[in-house]
Symmetry: C2
Subunit: 214 residues, 2 copies
């Protein structure tokens, strides 16, 4: 910006040309907000979900990740706001619960990157969360999954350049406090608007290998 | 220690009574050194390995984790120095490689904790590594596995008290530089003696939910 001017707010529209973005999990609370923000900034968004969206695939199945790219390739960016993990006390979890969390939030996002390399020219933005670093009771599978994805993002970044990859790692969002606030006593929530800005930063900015904590 | 005295070296023997420790992966470079250190400090060590050790089990199979505890229960502490992951460039990896890394270093150690709750009174010490935070080329499965275990350790700690759980997260060890040094250019190695002290700290000290970086 010109000397003497100060950046005083969020840019309503992107300063980069609109890009084609695959958005996974666009029907969730975060995905819906990210979808609107990307559209507002002039991007073309193809939504992907198991039971809703422009393209219907279950990305916990690596074969369906391949089918997604066969249907959508090429794209500029992939943004994921989807990941399912079981929440149970550690003593009640089974080995299959940990396998389900791995398939539902780790392998699903890893496969988006690994299989996306021939189809994606710009960036990958994956979703993790605060439980990677600050646990809650009954959240050990979520912690494990988030930690896995965050370390994977750092590792993948050094192998996929000039493509980029980042994680967005929010705490509980303000708009979900009614449902989930009791699990996060005293932990400051984050507004959805700040979470969406982290996605914007990842897709439009220059950084890679980062974990953005909005 | 008395006022005016300074701690000038490592205690050769434990100041806590000898405890019964299950040591997983006792035949590896780190496991061998940890084994000797535990014995020197007066502990009773039961070694566990797939093809060597006092007890022979393949802990990538959750059923064999149960069989291990059926054979060895009760124990005071579990220390793991074992974890296998494939090393390949990201573009050469398959979904099955990521599943193998999950089974080989994540679920195997998670099951030691989860299934160990009725059998272990003291502490769990799991192994991770520097790749959780500082990647190398062809190490994305290792990064993912290490990040998963480190976040799991933080989460499990709040649910298993008064039992404790920590991770030991070494970089390349000095004694392995001939074999692996080329993968860690310019990264300072750590001596095996310092890695073993991190295991001692985890087993004999009071901390929990920690990632010890020796």
């Amino acid at each position: 910006m010109p000397c003497g001017k100060h950046f005083t707010g969020r840019l309503a529209r992107s300063t980069v040309p609109g890009v084609k973005i695959l958005l996974i999990g666009a029907s969730g609370l975060i995905g819906t907000a990210v979808h609107k923000t990307f559209l507002d900034r002039g991007h073309d968004v193809l939504t992907v979900g198991r039971t809703s969206g422009d393209l219907r695939f279950d990305l916990t199945d690596p074969e369906q990740v391949g089918a997604l790219y066969a249907a959508a390739s090429p794209v500029d960016a992939v943004a994921s706001a989807a990941g399912d993990v079981p929440f149970k006390p550690l003593a009640d979890l089974t080995a299959d619960d940990f396998r389900a969390g791995f398939a539902g939030k780790v392998l699903s996002q890893v496969e988006l990157v690994r299989q996306g390399l021939p189809h994606v020219s710009g960036s990958f933005t994956l979703i993790t969360g605060v439980l990677a670093r600050e646990p809650i009771v009954a959240g050990s599978v979520a912690s494990l999954a988030n930690g896995a994805v965050e370390s994977f993002v750092k590792a993948a970044a050094i192998e996929i350049a000039p493509r980029r990859i980042n994680a967005v790692s929010p705490t509980v969002v303000t708009e979900a406090l009614d449902a989930y606030g009791d699990f996060f006593p005293g932990m400051p929530p984050v507004d959805l608007a700040d979470v969406t800005q982290a996605y914007v930063r990842s897709v439009e900015g220059p950084l890679t290998g980062q974990v953005f904590i909005p």
